[in-house]
């Protein structure tokens, strides 16, 4: 009766809002998106209005992630029919080819987009993703560097490049990318903390001191960042233990490490965490 109808409307709006939130947050929870999205498309398509097209796109990409080519194909057909000749839909078709590991065909698809629109950043990034998927890291790095010369403000690209360099153990270049990111995002604690980790990995007294500073900076920006807290403890401890440092520096770092130990132990006690850290001084 009337009650059931109300419940259905609530359920439907909840589902639609969930999908929107995941879209806005750029969440890659593909299995959930497929679950919710498939039902929405199958049961409630008529109620979605113009939202349906962006939902088809969102669900299609999620479907590719979950190897649901049947669902991806359905969404793609709907989008092709509604937006014939669209570059955006062409890119989705390319992504489907990538998911099927038809990399040459996918690349051709993106090349055709770039022929019509050489500034299409999405197509260029997809081509780089193909190189990554094929394990061609050196080429991916080269292409991404070229891309960034043209599109120097693309944060996502800088971060992707830093990840590629880390995987290649090229820590100096990874640090450079993270420096770019920190400059344009001074309040982002994650970039500080990742930079500190790279510096720590590079090793040597100078890098350790830099790493300690940036772990501390990350903590200033977010005092709940556990990686930064542990990083501060470890970098300060290592500096204090280094035979090259003078007494003043040693004393200061012993103090930093002690402070970090305190904070870590408190965090574990407060959260009643099962796994207790045994940090001795």
């Amino acid at each position: 009766g009337f009650d059931n109808w109300n419940v259905l409307i609530i359920v439907f709006t909840e589902m639609r809002d969930k999908l929107r939130k995941w879209r806005e947050d750029n969440h890659r929870n593909s299995e959930q998106i497929v679950d919710v999205g498939e039902e929405l498309i199958n049961e409630h398509a008529s109620k979605l209005g113009d939202d349906i097209w962006i939902i088809y796109e969102q669900v299609m990409i999620a479907a590719l992630d979950c190897s649901r080519d049947d669902l991806a194909w359905t969404c793609l057909q709907e989008l092709k029919r509604q937006f014939p000749g669209s570059q955006r839909v062409k890119r989705l078709a390319g992504m489907r080819l990538e998911a099927l590991e038809k990399y040459e065909d996918a690349s051709k698809q993106y090349d055709s987009i770039l022929q019509d629109d050489p500034t299409n950043t999405a197509a260029r990034k997809r081509k780089i993703s193909i190189l990554k998927a094929q394990g061609k890291s050196a080429e991916a790095i080269r292409e991404l560097n070229e891309y960034l010369e043209q599109f120097v403000g693309d944060q996502e690209a800088w971060h992707e490049l830093s990840e590629l360099y880390i995987n290649e153990h090229d820590y100096g270049k990874a640090a450079f990318c993270l420096e770019e990111l920190m400059m344009t995002n001074p309040h982002n604690h994650l970039y500080c903390e990742q930079y500190a980790e790279v510096k720590y990995t590079q090793g040597g007294l100078e890098n350790l001191e830099l790493s300690r500073k940036y772990f501390a900076q990350a903590l200033k920006l977010n005092n709940r960042n556990m990686r930064a807290l542990f990083g501060l403890y470890m970098s300060a401890s290592h500096i204090a233990a280094c035979p090259k440092v003078n007494a003043t520096v040693k004393k200061a770092n012993v103090r930093y490490a002690a402070w970090a130990t305190n904070q870590i132990n408190r965090a574990y006690q407060v959260s009643h965490a099962m796994c207790c850290v045994l940090l001795k001084q």
Binding site: I166, H169, V198, T201, S211, M226, M234, A273
Partner: protein, 216 residues
């Protein structure tokens, strides 16, 4: 000779770790509750990272923490596992070799295990793993006949069941623990779930008993 046995518990958690983060490289430590000497019995594992595997601080931290936990629970670190994000290449990365080297310093017959992502689908009838051992100073491929997985079919089925039921999301690796320190990286909850699914005859999930070689 160097026989290695992999317990159901260790295999299932390693496998689920790889499944939980399909787009990332993941790694972890292999543990043994058996005394040193003779065959290596991998009775458990601790999933470590799914981000920035080559970076030092968190890896060092995790190694220290696991070391302490092992001392408390009469276990030893006997190996290392890794699954590469790129499924077309399951060879050990430099960072895998580095960590495995470190483990080998403390453990004579340490093993390096790579999960072969390309062979993880249900069509494959054998465990999707490749094992290496240290000969002189190099990590060399182990003879398949020296690797044993007791009751492989049951192990494989338990892993599939947990995947289907979504329970693989119960798995906590060290990275996830750092994101939320209330989450238990020793995975007691998941261990209990795995024990539930095992048959009464196989209630010694984490115990080794050299049986017939399954890997051919």
């Amino acid at each position: 000779m160097g026989e290695v046995e992999l317990s159901c518990l260790a295999y299932v958690k390693m496998y689920l770790h790889a499944c939980l983060f399909p787009r990332c490289s993941v790694n972890g430590l292999l543990l043994s509750s058996s005394p040193a000497g003779g065959a290596v019995c991998v009775t458990d594992c601790v999933p470590l990272l799914h981000t920035h595997l080559p970076l030092a601080p968190i890896t060092q931290l995790a190694l220290t923490q696991v070391d302490v936990w092992c001392a408390q629970t009469q276990q030893r670190i006997v190996g290392y596992y890794q699954a590469n994000a790129c499924v077309s290449d399951s060879s050990p990365t430099p960072c895998a070799l580095k960590i495995a080297d470190k483990i080998a310093e403390q453990c004579n017959n340490a093993v390096l295990l790579m999960i072969d992502g390309g062979k993880m689908s249900p069509d494959y009838r054998v465990p999707p793993i490749v094992m290496y051992e240290r000969k002189d100073t190099r990590w060399t491929l182990k003879d398949k006949h020296t690797i044993m997985l007791r009751q492989w079919e049951e192990t494989r089925d338990i892993a599939s069941q947990l995947l289907d039921s979504g329970d693989h999301s119960l798995l906590v690796d060290f990275d996830s623990h750092l994101d939320d320190i209330t989450r238990d990286w020793t995975n007691q909850k998941l261990n209990a779930k795995i024990a539930e699914l095992a048959s009464p005859a196989n209630d010694n999930l984490g115990v080794c008993q050299l049986g017939n070689p399954v890997l051919r």
